[in-house]
């Protein structure tokens, strides 16, 4: 009796995209968890005898923090522009969009540094609250995410401009990462810079 051999097992695809999505999920859990701890400490500080969470001497520079938020709109648009151009094999526009994404990412890192410098907030608060520790923990963690995003943008750009134009998956994964960073910053901005 003759029989055809079994078909090969279907193999997985889009590892980079799915891997990036999983990493974004993990990053969102990190930021969400940290914001939850922030709100708990804030709640406890406001219930304490001092009734104070944000130190009076260190006002938050809202111009810089709001510009960071607005910059993320541009980042999301540029990242999606790269995906749009990659689908149309428009190499020049892909490179331009990825370069602009990385550049705006650098500008956001610069704005974050400006916030740190302008506040001049000590890590250890003399009043005994955890504000300084939590502020630097959350904004510092997010700054690491930003640095990873900028590196992701430039690596994607170099790979694409270097000739690997068939690998569009990395461009989509790059866009997903920046969407995650945007969503994470919106949460961070509202909790840390708005409700304080």
């Amino acid at each position: 009796m003759l029989a055809l051999p079994a078909a090969p097992a279907p193999s997985a695809r889009r590892q980079l995209f799915v891997g990036t999505a999983l990493a974004c999920g993990a990053g969102a859990m990190v930021i969400g968890g940290m914001l939850a701890i922030w709100l708990r400490f804030r709640d406890e500080a406001l219930k304490s005898a001092a009734h104070r969470w944000l130190p009076k001497k260190y006002p938050i520079p809202e111009v810089a923090s709001n510009i960071m938020l607005l910059s993320f709109i541009a980042v999301a648009i540029f990242a999606q522009w790269a995906v749009y151009a990659a689908r149309r094999d428009d190499k020049r526009h892909v490179g331009m969009a990825l370069g602009l994404t990385g550049l705006i990412g650098l500008a956001i890192i610069n704005a974050q540094a400006a916030v740190w410098v302008q506040m001049g907030l000590p890590v250890r608060d003399s009043a005994g609250t955890a504000y300084g520790v939590m502020f630097y923990a959350i904004t510092g963690t997010f700054a690491v995410f930003l640095i990873i995003g900028v590196a992701f943008s430039f690596i994607t750009m170099f790979r694409y401009l270097g000739g690997r134009t068939a690998q569009r998956e990395i461009v989509t994964a790059h866009a997903i990462y920046w969407y995650f960073a945007t969503a994470a910053f919106v949460m961070l901005w509202f909790v840390v810079y708005v409700t304080k």
């Binding site: 997985a12 695809r13 859990m29």
Partner: protein
């Protein structure tokens, strides 16, 4: 419609959402609520991604995809470099707290891990032959790895030996290192006579020896060097005065030997109970020598008489809190160690002020404590 993975993530989303509602209703509080809300959002996000990519499966109708998709290719080999890179990253905050040396070590570890990982990643895609790929990696990295690893290994052994030597007691050092040398000689002779010895045995013995030496070195470094008693020197300070006629421990095992190229300003000799100075370029015995201010002048003291004596240079006084009620007058004195007949000692003199500025009727001079009859040599400092 829903793939298996999407159903799992959807179930996770529903459970997280239900957990959020139950937790916020029963317990409340921002910590758990926001944590569960975040988990719900993340699960929902992953559900959407998984639904969109259809569990990342290649359709069985897509024959090209079956062959060309990344998962159809051989998995890359295992690599220790990500782990080492992670270790380096974790060491950076440790170094920021403990010390700069650890931070630099972490940076070096991260650079090494990055380079090794990149070259390994590149070599794995060089061809479809894993053996050839491994050869490519070796060809690129071995010229770097072998000298650096050799230097690091050698440095570790040298450092370990130095710590062990500093830790061992003075008498024990020769015994221990003689024993180690004898063991090396013995094992080397055994290996040389028995030609078909297993390579694994040699490697094991060498590894045990290296680990033992490095381990002993680390333990010795942690324990610290053996206590070495500080050798007393002949000096005069506010609390100590060894520049007297008495002999102390500082006068035994004298360390101020004189080299032939000592650039001597003068040789001061005690002969027939009298002091005189021999100055290079000046004929005859002198009773006055001239030395520069604020510079080291090297004086040789030679005792040709019997007895053990020292030479003292009296360079006036230092005033602490001058003019105040608590003014203190500290003699500015340096001296040699006591020297017996035929011996010589070395003395460095550095007068801080000219001899014309001396006060309290104490001109600069060289004298022998306890031997006033020897006289003195006057010191002129322009």
């Amino acid at each position: 419609m829903f793939t298996t993975g999407s159903k799992l993530f959807l179930g996770g989303s529903v459970l997280a959402f239900a957990g959020t509602l139950i937790y916020s209703g029963i317990h409340g509080g921002p910590l758990g609520t926001i944590g569960l809300v975040t988990a719900t959002i993340v699960f929902a996000f992953l559900t959407g991604i998984n639904f969109w990519v259809r569990d990342s499966n290649v359709s069985s109708m897509d024959t090209a995809g079956i062959e060309s998709s990344p998962a159809a290719h051989a998995a890359p080999g295992r690599s220790m470099w990500p782990m080492i890179g992670g270790l380096g990253l974790a060491l950076i905050p440790v170094g920021l707290v403990v010390g700069r040396a650890i931070t630099w070590l972490a940076v070096i570890v991260m650079i090494i891990a990055t380079v090794e990982w990149m070259v390994q990643g590149w070599s794995e895609g060089a061809s479809s032959d894993p053996v050839y790929n491994a050869g490519v990696r070796k060809r690129i990295l071995h010229p770097l790895e072998l000298p650096i690893l050799g230097a690091v290994g050698l440095g570790l052994i040298i450092f370990s030996f130095s710590r062990i030597m500093l830790r061992l007691p003075k008498a024990g050092g020769p015994v221990v290192f003689g024993g180690i040398g004898a063991a090396v000689l013995l094992f080397g002779a055994l290996f040389a006579t028995k030609r078909n010895i297993a390579r694994s045995l040699v490697v094991t013995l060498c590894t045990v020896g290296a680990v033992g030496i490095v381990g002993a070195g680390v333990a010795s470094a942690v324990a610290g060097p053996r206590h070495v008693t500080k050798h007393e020197i002949a000096e005069k300070t506010l609390t100590v005065d060894n520049c007297t006629a008495d002999h102390t421990e500082a006068d035994d095992h004298s360390s101020r030997a004189i080299a032939g190229k000592s650039n001597l300003a003068a040789t001061i000799v005690l002969e027939n109970g009298k002091l005189h100075a021999d100055v290079i370029g000046v004929n005859g015995a002198q009773q006055t020598i001239t030395i520069p201010r604020s510079n080291d002048s090297y004086i040789r003291f030679q005792n040709k008489d019997s007895g053990k004596v020292r030479l003292v240079a009296n360079l006036g006084y230092d005033l602490i809190n001058p003019g105040a009620s608590n003014e203190v007058k500290v003699p500015d004195v340096v001296c040699t160690q006591a020297v017996t007949k035929g011996g010589a000692q070395f003395l460095i003199v550095n007068p801080p002020r000219p001899s014309s500025a001396t006060k309290f009727g104490a001109p600069y001079s060289f004298t022998i404590p306890g031997l006033d009859s020897a006289g003195s040599i006057a010191i002129e400092v322009p």
